[in-house]
């Protein structure tokens, strides 16, 4: 037994340096577009981002945080969240302080309303001119005061061509009895309601309770054909052919498709949700200058490219979208053309009373199933 243990330990100790050296590969960018000083070297920037939402050096990709550290000497303290709401909860509690956060559009709208963000000094964000103008001046930050777009995403319908006949073009297929027990939907109220709202032609940002009631009724109808409500499990379900139809984010379709070539993707004709996740600096940030430097760094062509290829979502950065070497250059799903572009609606921040109203409805929909 002891002998076995010592052999194991020896193997372990031999393995550690090997694995350490192999992951220290790509931690520098070749030619930064902006100039970076080392004035803030030794300080820390606290970054709070979605999980799996930055190129982290795995599989030979660029390790963005390490590259930033190498360039500026600023230590990146990186942590992540799994929903806008949990991020909001942490920030609101006041128990934590972050210098950079990357929430979605409607959450930025709420944060601005509640005076929780601080204006950015755009003079220092020298890479901001790379951002596609169509993602500037959006409803949540009409004067471009608080946010810098990081990623763009659209929701679409993913289906398995071996299980679905023809080419679906409507959300209605998610109610089709033919695919009973093979249909998935989102396990969060806003996205799930959104689909029903697009289908019955109700405003996704309605402040009228009757509209939400109507959508809830529609969702209850769906219960009898539904296999389940999923978020991340959608990957395993769709890749394994366990379900035929699922709505999900366009970028993630590419990940699923690479593991199951039978999958296809379509934007339903009734319209769909578009979202923009943007970098912001909270009011209680302690290292404002470093935060600006970090946000500027995220817009570096090399960094944005690495992130876009790692995350697989559409990049609002023109240096990425117009780069012929980009893995998804000209990809119609991520970057629909004028003609192929679906009707898109942003989710807006909704009045708290309506919010708790639809949360209640959502519970009743689940209990009904």
């Amino acid at each position: 037994m002891k002998k076995l243990l010592s052999i194991l330990l020896a193997v372990l100790m031999a393995a550690v340096p090997v694995s350490l050296s192999s992951c220290g590969s790509n931690t520098a960018i070749e030619s930064p577009r902006a100039t970076y000083t080392r004035d803030l070297a030794g300080t820390t920037v606290n970054v709070f981002n979605w999980g799996e939402y930055i190129s982290d050096g795995s599989e030979g990709s660029l390790n963005v945080n390490k590259a930033f550290e190498a360039l500026t000497g600023i230590h990146v303290n990186y942590s992540f969240y799994d929903s806008n709401e949990s991020m909001y909860g942490k920030l609101k509690s006041g128990a934590v302080s972050y210098d950079v956060i990357i929430p979605s559009d409607y959450m930025i709208e709420r944060l601005i309303k509640e005076d929780m963000l601080q204006p950015l000094d755009y003079a220092k964000l020298t890479n901001y001119d790379l951002i596609d103008p169509q993602y500037k001046n959006l409803f949540f930050d009409p004067d471009n005061t608080y946010s810098v777009p990081y990623n763009v995403g659209l929701v679409g319908l993913i289906y398995n061509t071996t299980m679905v006949e023809g080419t679906p073009d409507s959300w209605a297929i998610m109610w089709d009895e033919k695919y009973k027990d093979n249909i998935l939907t989102f396990d969060n109220p806003r996205d799930a309601f959104g689909i029903a709202q697009f289908l019955i032609g109700v405003d996704v940002n309605s402040e009228n309770k009757a509209d939400w009631d109507a959508a809830a009724e529609k969702l209850k109808e769906q219960n009898k054909v539904l296999q389940g409500r999923v978020m991340d499990q959608v990957f395993a379900k769709m890749e394994g052919g366990n379900a035929a139809i699922a709505p999900y984010y366009a970028g993630d379709y590419h990940v699923m498709k690479s593991n199951n070539p039978d999958l296809a993707f379509v934007y339903p004709k009734e319209g769909t949700n578009i979202f923009v996740d943007s970098a912001c600096v909270p009011k209680n940030a302690v290292n404002y200058e470093a935060a600006l430097m970090y946000i500027n760094f995220l817009m570096e062509p090399e960094v944005a490219l690495a992130n876009a290829e790692y995350i697989c979502y559409a990049s609002p950065n023109t240096a990425v979208a117009n780069n012929p070497d980009y893995e998804f250059y000209g990809d119609e799903i991520l970057y629909p053309t004028e003609e192929s572009r679906p009707v898109c609606e942003y989710f807006h921040d909704i009045d708290p009373e309506i919010r708790s109203y639809y949360e209640k409805l959502w519970e009743s929909v689940i209990l009904d199933s």
Binding site: G89, L226, G228, V230, A236, K237, N242, R355, K360, I366
Partner: protein, 274 residues
């Protein structure tokens, strides 16, 4: 009650302090949140709203009761057989029971998702012999199964530990006095093992009734238990107050069930964990 010596008090002090800071104070915070609104003003609204969650509380209790009964039925004979084996075999069986506990509940549950899936391991095997596919995941059965799978060691271990203490001579005496088979089980083994059964029931029921991960993953988002609602209130709706009120009710349910079990256990000295 024996008087505690000074030394005992000194040794116990860190524990008392620990319990005060990390158990008692948080309980008060939960109670405080339950009776206030998000702005800190006192209110009974959270408690009044609890009524809406009646069906969810009912489901949680039913699911965890089912899991507890199934665990007991499976664990009891297993624990008995285990306690009568040679010491070496007992040790091996003990390791086998403990083995799944070395892994995170999250990983275990995620693995079961893949096993129970439409094209999962079970259905692939079934289709090889021309049966099924069965709908396994997303059913109440899958959630109860998940609870049993994850918590059954907590049923086996306390029952086993009291069974192991039953001297073989006691059983022989029972037989000599004409108590064989069922009667031996009924009159001798069962009463002697009661403290273990009571601890086991509590230790399976309590985590089952408050679970959220198992119901979400194995229920395919179609089953809501109290734990899920509490998680949603706090994570998705940022309503700490409602979440706290729900937790408070859950705690009351747990304390009541433990009190009930204590009643059943009677005045034996061997109440292991209750």
């Amino acid at each position: 009650m024996k008087q505690r010596s000074l030394l005992q008090r000194i040794i116990g002090a860190p524990y008392v302090l620990w319990a005060a800071i990390f158990i008692v104070v948080p309980l008060f915070i939960v109670a405080y949140y339950s009776f206030t609104d998000p702005n800190g003003a006192p209110t009974l609204a959270n408690i009044k709203n609890l009524g809406e969650y009646g069906p969810i509380f009912r489901d949680s209790i039913l699911y965890s009761l089912a899991a507890t009964v199934i665990s007991l039925v499976l664990a009891y004979p297993f624990a008995y057989v285990m306690s009568r084996k040679r010491e070496k075999t007992q040790q091996i069986m003990m390791v086998l029971v403990m083995l799944p506990m070395w892994m995170s509940l999250l990983i275990l549950t995620y693995s079961w998702m893949n096993i129970l899936e439409r094209n999962g391991i079970i259905n692939t095997l079934l289709s090889k012999i021309g049966a099924g596919p069965l709908t396994l995941i997303g059913t109440p059965g899958a959630v109860i199964f998940g609870m049993v799978y994850n918590y059954i060691p907590y049923m086996i271990l306390p029952i086993y530990s009291v069974m192991a203490k039953i001297e073989p001579s006691v059983l022989e005496a029972a037989e000599d006095l004409g108590s064989g088979g069922l009667s031996k089980l009924y009159r001798v083994i069962l009463p002697l093992s009661m403290p273990g059964v009571v601890s086991g029931i509590t230790m399976v029921f309590v985590p089952s009734v408050s679970t959220f991960y198992i119901s979400q993953k194995l229920g395919d988002g179609k089953i809501l238990l109290v734990g899920d609602i509490i998680e949603r209130q706090i994570q998705a709706q940022n309503n700490y107050n409602m979440g706290a009120a729900l937790s408070l009710v859950l705690m009351v349910i747990i304390v009541l069930s433990m009190a009930l079990m204590k009643l059943f256990a009677g005045d034996t000295d061997e109440n292991l964990y209750v």
